[in-house]
């Protein structure tokens, strides 16, 4: 599958052959950093001054590169397809190789970042547990009531939530049994066939 690069996108990227490979590599680094942490306009100004071009040109170049990398990572295109897509830009052999390397080196991380944009449910982080025995309450003395108390740690949209919950021994065993069945399910023929055939 080839990437479809628009006119505007190609114009932005046209800046890249006009500078050294070292600069392109630096732009690549900035692009990934911006994906991790958000963009920072001051970087554009600094680079613009050093290269003696307008800040806009630098920004477009970096953004063009960013889009190239994210689209390729999103579609998980092969090396060959990436090379063919970039070929239409008419860059030098050296620049093409550099861009390919940039893609391959950063693909995994970019995909992890893109994954965070999906509709999100709270995700499991960890579980703490504690065994308690209730001995008495205001309404009944002389009890022996075993309880298990949990602190469930969840992550949601970057925030860390904890929920404190309790259960009795019988339900605990039931939970273990049910969730073990859930894990076993992945090992069944049905699931294995699906995993093998949908690629």
């Amino acid at each position: 599958m080839l990437l479809d690069l628009s006119e505007e996108h190609r114009e932005h990227l046209a800046f890249l052959p006009q500078v050294d490979s070292a600069v392109v590599a630096e732009f690549g680094r900035i692009a990934v950093e911006f994906l991790r942490r958000g963009s920072n306009a001051k970087i554009y100004e600094g680079a613009a001054r050093k290269l003696n071009v307008s800040s806009d040109t630098v920004q477009h170049g970096v953004e063009g590169l960013t889009y190239l990398l994210t689209e390729s990572s999103k579609l998980m295109i092969s090396e060959l397809d990436f090379q063919d897509s970039v070929f239409v830009l008419g860059f030098s052999e050296e620049l093409n190789k550099l861009l390919l390397q940039l893609y391959l080196d950063n693909r995994k991380e970019i995909r992890t970042i893109l994954n965070e944009l999906a509709p999100d449910l709270p995700t499991y982080h960890s579980l703490e547990w504690r065994l308690d025995v209730q001995l008495a309450s205001r309404s009944l003395r002389q009890q022996i009531k075993p309880t298990v108390t949990f602190k469930l740690h969840l992550n949601h949209n970057g925030e860390h939530n904890t929920k404190v919950l309790q259960t009795d021994p019988a339900t605990l065993l039931h939970l273990v049994q049910q969730l073990e069945q859930a894990l076993e399910e992945m090992k069944t023929n049905h699931c294995r066939r699906v995993v093998r055939n949908i690629k």
């Binding site: 999103k74 579609l75 998980m76 995909r111 893109l114 994954n115 944009l117 999906a118 509709p119 449910l121 709270p122 995700t123 499991y124 960890s126 579980l127 547990w129 065994l131 309450s137 205001r138 309404s139 009944l140 003395r141 002389q142 009890q143 009531k145 075993p146 298990v148 108390t149 949990f150 469930l152 969840l154 929920k163 404190v164 919950l165 309790q166 259960t167 009795d168 021994p169 339900t171 605990l172 065993l173 039931h174 939970l175 273990v176 049910q178 969730l179 073990e180 859930a182 894990l183 399910e185 992945m186 699931c191 699906v194 995993v195 949908i198 690629k199």
Partner: protein, 195 residues
């Protein structure tokens, strides 16, 4: 057990065969247990024809006294001798003491269950459901091809009677971690019960 004056007075009236004959006593006793333990009991529990001849105010006082005493006894897990001693002090005859102790014994388990369930506790997990899915793509990321679990814990809140659910997603490793920790807790529980 600390019991108020009104309980004592109520019981003294109950003990008096002049105010409550044997039949009325048995009926009132049963009514007291019923109004505490029977979820469907209504206010008409004292509306029995054989109790009509007794002054309603007296009836209510005695009913309240009996119910209060039953709850206190249940709370402190009173044994037969404690019950007998107190009832003797209130001048109950042997027959009525026996009847009271028998009724108490018959209802003891329900009473203790009821008392145990009263009180605040943390949200209580009652069940779990799970769903296994195979993620293929999102609009931001194609070719994902990985399994994911969605786990929902059914939770009960004792005081608010609400049933919130806690749902979360996890991958295989995370579910294995969760199950591992739950198994640790249950093994620990097993060891503790063998001590």
């Amino acid at each position: 057990m600390e019991l108020s004056e009104s309980v004592q007075r109520g019981f003294q009236t109950l003990a008096d065969p002049g105010s409550f004959d044997s039949n009325a006593f048995a009926l009132l006793l049963r009514a007291a247990f019923q109004s505490l333990l029977d979820a469907q009991a209504d206010e008409a529990v004292l509306d029995h024809p054989d109790l009509k001849h007794i002054d309603p105010v007296v009836l209510k006082c005695c009913h309240a006294a009996a119910a209060t005493y039953i709850l206190e006894a249940g709370k402190h897990r009173a044994d037969k001798s404690t019950l007998s001693t107190y009832l003797e002090d209130c001048k109950f005859d042997r027959e009525r003491i026996e009847l009271f102790c028998t009724e108490y014994q018959n209802n003891k388990n329900s009473l203790e269950s009821l008392l145990e369930s009263i009180g605040k506790s943390l949200p209580h997990i009652t069940d779990v459901s799970w769903r296994l899915e195979y993620q293929i793509k999102t609009n931001q990321l194609h070719k994902m091809y990985r399994p994911a679990y969605l786990v929902t814990l059914n939770v009960e809140n004792t005081d608010s009677q609400s049933y919130p659910e806690i749902s979360f997603s996890c991958n295989m490793e995370q579910l294995q971690d969760l199950v591992g920790k739950l198994k640790d807790a249950s093994k620990s529980l097993e060891r503790a019960t063998q001590l």
